[in-house]
């Protein structure tokens, strides 16, 4: 941080927030689609890790990181569909299946990903928005990955789609009242399975960002609960895709300020800093939940509201 002194902290936090928030953004957008259809998928953590592993392995084998991103999305889609289809069976609890999928996804990723811990795969390129600056810190902070921009576009597009497209309205109706959707002749089970699958697809892509850009390698400790935090993040964002983007930035910033402060001399309490996002999430949930009413904007069929 030499050269910028204490100013290095906000710059590093901004750059870090952009980098760290991208997986949050994708996973929370995916969870947003799933929850809008009335189902909660806690297994996104497993999907994220599987996506990270698949993306890294495919990038290593094929030499193309973008192919890796696609493969990660495909793997996520499959796992998401698995969750959706199992939960379509009567009397199956979606939260419990989510925990099962979390174990299965991480296990599968560790099992298949063992050979890819060592080798170095080609990673995603960054767009250097900071090329105008002579300061290396600012340049490092403004190296933005294309996936981040895709994520923003996706958040805007999803917010629009939920309001103005047939598909978005059907998903929301299924999420708010399955009976009404059934009366209108929609296949509730299919809509939910597809929504969960799409959620998995986005989470898989979010995972590939972890292994292919930042931190940019595959290891078993790659994810630190981003998939789980995204679930809380969606609640924080009140099921609004655009708010998911702001919330992801906020979470990324929280997750990032610990190491940044550490680099300028605050060394004690490193682990407590790392836990800050969880504390913040919990505090937000305590502040916004109430036993007497459901949260504003919450899909009526969601099991956490019943």
């Amino acid at each position: 941080m030499e050269g910028l002194g204490l100013w290095g902290v906000p710059v590093a936090v901004l750059g870090g927030a952009i980098r760290v928030s991208t997986p949050f953004l994708f996973v929370s957008l995916g969870e947003c689609i799933t929850e809008r259809s009335g189902r909660i998928n806690l297994g996104l953590e497993g999907i994220l890790v599987t996506g990270a592993m698949t993306g890294y392995a495919v990038s290593y084998v094929s030499g193309s990181p973008w192919l890796g991103v696609l493969a990660a999305g495909g793997a996520g889609l499959l796992l998401g569909l698995l969750h959706g289809v199992i939960c379509n069976l009567p009397r199956v609890n979606d939260i419990a299946v989510g925990i099962g999928l979390m174990l299965f996804g991480t296990g599968l990723a560790f099992f298949l990903g063992k050979p890819y811990v060592q080798p170095k795969a080609p990673t995603l390129p960054a767009i250097p928005f900071g090329a105008w600056s002579s300061s290396p810190q600012i340049r490092a902070a403004l190296d933005v990955n294309p996936l981040f921009l895709i994520g923003i576009a996706l958040a805007v597009a999803l917010g629009w789609a939920f309001r103005h497209t047939r598909w978005g309205l059907v998903v929301r109706m299924v999420g708010d009242s399955a009976d009404a959707a059934r009366a209108m002749g929609h296949d509730v089970a299919r809509v939910r399975a597809v929504s969960t699958g799409l959620g998995g697809l986005l989470s898989g892509i979010g995972g590939s960002f972890l292994s292919l850009y930042y931190p940019g390698s595959w290891s078993e400790g790659l994810s630190s609960g981003q998939g789980l935090m995204a679930v809380a993040l969606v609640i924080f964002a009140r099921w609004n895709p655009l708010h998911c983007f702001y919330a992801a930035l906020l979470f990324g910033e929280r997750a990032r300020s610990g190491p940044a402060l550490q680099s300028v001399g605050f060394t004690s309490g490193y682990y407590l800093f790392n836990a800050a996002p969880y504390v913040v999430t919990l505090a937000i949930m305590i502040a916004t939940c109430s036993p007497r009413r459901t949260l504003a904007g919450a899909p009526g069929e969601l099991s956490i509201n019943r």
């Binding site: 698995l82 419990a96 299946v97 979390m102 296990g107 682990y271 999430t281 939940c289």
Partner: protein
Amino acid sequence: MGVKLAMAVAGMIAGGLWIALAGALRQYRGVNETISSLLLTYIAIAVFNHVVEGPLRDPASLNKPSTTPIGDVNMLGQLPGLDVHWGLGWGIIFCAAMAVLMRHTTQGFALRIVGGNARAARLAGLPVGRLVLFACFLGGAAAGLAGMVEVAAVHGSANASLVAGYGYAGILVAFIARQNPLAIVPVAILLGGISASGGMLQRRLDLPDATVLVLQGVAFLLILASETLYGRFKVFRPRSA
């Protein structure tokens, strides 16, 4: 003996209070207990790491930070005549106590009513909030006791190898045992055996240690999916009470 008992009680109180917090949030603030307990898990691990690497760190532990060893005198030791430590005995005692509590006491009966239908329980005048907190405390206490046994019978000090996902495996055990405290004993031994075989799979068959995780995940998903068969075949039909 006094120290061991104190360790057990301290572990149970710490675990109990932690999960009672999730229960209280659910009961009085309407925070979803699945999400809050997951978050609390991460917070607890962070606090654990902070304490182990900071205030309670043994200066002699260089590469792998851990607390000062509790000393051989305070270790739980083996069951007489077996190559198994006392944790198994304590676990079976806890399970039996829970079975008695759930089946043969008014508290347990009230708990089952609350679990079956909270609104009916409230109409019947049961203190639903207190009962939920009590159940959460017991659940957390069981986990706290497990942690204490891990320290006092296996590791001898607290370090990062305690964070091994026993909690998630425990959820799986409870589901397979269909929330029956006595069925937990065989199921837990079975799952423990599967986990322990991980090392052997690695050495003999050259499989990665994550094989066990995959197996647990598949088992969990299949068992949850089989919930749908409940009541459709004779074997799965609930016994009329």
